[in-house]
Symmetry: C2
């Protein structure tokens, strides 16, 4: 059924070893021989047997990219950038490496995350890229630490993007994070500067790193301004989706009708919150300011255009991809990418401010 290396060798009148060498391209072969082999490959429609190759070489060209939610553009953009950085990788020696960059959707589930890592480990993946926040459950973190170490010991490169290492001082993984704390702090500071004093927060899931960092940044700004009263009351939690934003804003508005601003866990949540605000007959930003986080492409298209914090997603993804294939050498320590406040039309001074 399948044509093998040996068939090609026979056809080209050379040994299997020679065919292997021209295919890999990492070993000198006389040009005429090369041509002959290539032609034979053409004629026979030969395709390398990956499993056999990986078995013999004890490595594979698979690179796994794990994301929490593939339907969320945040992850899509990051993963897309990483994937194309990996695909266009020039390779170590100039020879194009045909890496198979694939993305795996964990749905944010820890079990799923571990399962995918094991599957990737089975395949002897060349690298694994974990994108986005992690669950802060001790048991899971322990399991992750162990698994990542196993992976690293097995020779697969591990890079984390947008999440901290599950355990300190683990030199085997390279880490790339966003300054979620700083970004959130700056955003809330902006609102405070406009004159807001009652700022609600629709935060993300309690047990997730990213959500915690953003909320902490928000609160740090509040503390900076001496506002410590009612903070807990003006915070609600929920998943990173639109309904959470809607429900969260409703809850906040009923708990605290005097609210003049709402910061959301991300742009999508902000959209939901904005809808809730509008449905209560309040204007944005006239009555209530609303702000997001991430600066997804759609943020500029909301009405009014969303004030948010821009995260360098494309840059981060590309960089993570390059780190994964070794095109870029790992930094000494964790690398933190800056977040930038983007003020648009959804925030303004409070009514009567």
């Amino acid at each position: 059924m399948a044509v093998t290396l040996a068939d090609v060798a026979a056809r080209a009148g050379v040994s299997p070893a020679t065919v292997s060498r021209v295919l890999k391209g990492n070993y000198p072969v006389a040009e005429p021989t090369r041509q002959r082999v290539l032609r034979a490959v053409e004629e026979l429609d030969y395709v390398l047997n990956g499993p056999a190759s990986s078995l013999a070489a004890a490595t594979s060209d698979l690179v796994g990219i794990l994301v929490n939610d593939i339907a969320d553009p945040f992850f899509g953009i990051l993963a897309g950038a990483a994937q194309s950085a990996i695909g266009t990788s020039p390779g170590a020696g100039g020879a194009r490496t045909e890496k198979l960059a694939v993305v795996c959707n964990t749905g944010g589930s820890p079990e799923c995350e571990l399962t995918y890592l094991t599957l990737l480990q089975r395949q002897r993946a060349a690298a694994v890229l974990l994108v986005g926040g992690a669950l802060e459950d001790p048991a899971h973190q322990r399991a992750m630490t162990a698994k990542l170490r196993q992976l690293a010991d097995g020779g697969t490169r591990v890079v984390l993007c947008g999440r901290p290492a599950p355990s300190r001082d683990d030199a085997s993984v390279t880490v790339l994070t966003f300054d979620d704390h700083g970004g959130a702090r700056e955003l809330t500071a902006h609102l405070l500067a406009l004159g807001h004093r009652r700022i609600g927060c629709v935060a993300g899931p309690e047990e997730r790193t990213v959500a915690r960092h953003r909320l902490a940044g928000h609160r740090a700004a509040l503390v900076d301004a001496g506002l410590t009263e009612g903070v807990e009351r003006m915070t609600v939690r929920g998943p990173y989706d639109r309904p959470a934003g809607y429900a969260g804003a409703c809850e906040l508005l009923s708990r605290e009708p005097e609210l003049t601003a709402i910061v959301a866990a991300n742009d999508t949540v902000a959209l939901g919150a904005a809808a809730a605000v509008r449905d209560r007959g309040l204007r944005i930003p006239g009555d209530v300011s609303v702000a997001g986080f991430c600066d997804l492409p759609s943020a500029v298209d909301t009405v009014p255009a969303l004030t948010t914090v821009r995260l360098p997603l494309v840059d981060a993804g590309a960089r993570a991809g390059r780190l994964a294939v070794g095109d870029e050498s790992a930094p000494a320590g964790p690398l933190e990418l800056a977040a930038e406040l983007v003020v648009r039309d959804s925030t303004a001074p409070p009514p009567g401010g």
Copy 2:
């Protein structure tokens, strides 16, 4: 370095074959033996060597999902649904199949598409799922037909979701499509029923199946209404993104200032078009109606909420996933999923209509 099946066998005091059998679970093994083996696996932290396994068995558990743009929620939703349908697959005999469902981002590039297929073919993938429209270039279609046949001949299941088969009567691939034509036709009919007579269209890329079908549906509705004049002039083309919608709407509005409605290639394009309309000082839907296609989750959050055509993305993805792993038997012929008109607030009768 790596612990192998033989190590586990030695530890458990059984033969390698037995270990293999308990791991695969598809062969009777005495319970006590089973336990012993499982314990040895635990103790040794053994993980199966995928390449070796695939080589020996001549199959792998890899399932590739190819998408045109991973940052586009249309593909994200579809891919996510497929992936979870594959992951939760109960397997043929009740034993859980640990399929590794991965998504590959082609960026819409034909070369990339072919490259990924070859890579997947190398891995002897169990199935390949092609999601979204295809390029209608004869050379590429020929290449795809050949490649897909190779894949199918090699034993990998091929399913197309949202795209027609590259060549007719190819029984080796199973096809699942959306009724883009019917949906577009219904949408334009809705606009016509409201009284619109000058309807612009910001269509998708000319050479893509989906774009062609939607445009054809739109025009069919126009013909139904006896409106054939100026159709070409009221059509512009562009990629499936927001800037294309913005630019397209600007162009249409300057070509034909009397336009009272715009239908877009998809929801994202519609967002851009809406922004352009607003930026010209026109109101939606008061002066110009705007409609999208797909009904992405965000469509309901635009202001005004977008009239669009709903495509059953989750259902389609899940079904495609099940077809890919063989949980659902392939239909006799191509399966076409219905599209449903969703009327919201972005369409209304034309001014003075």
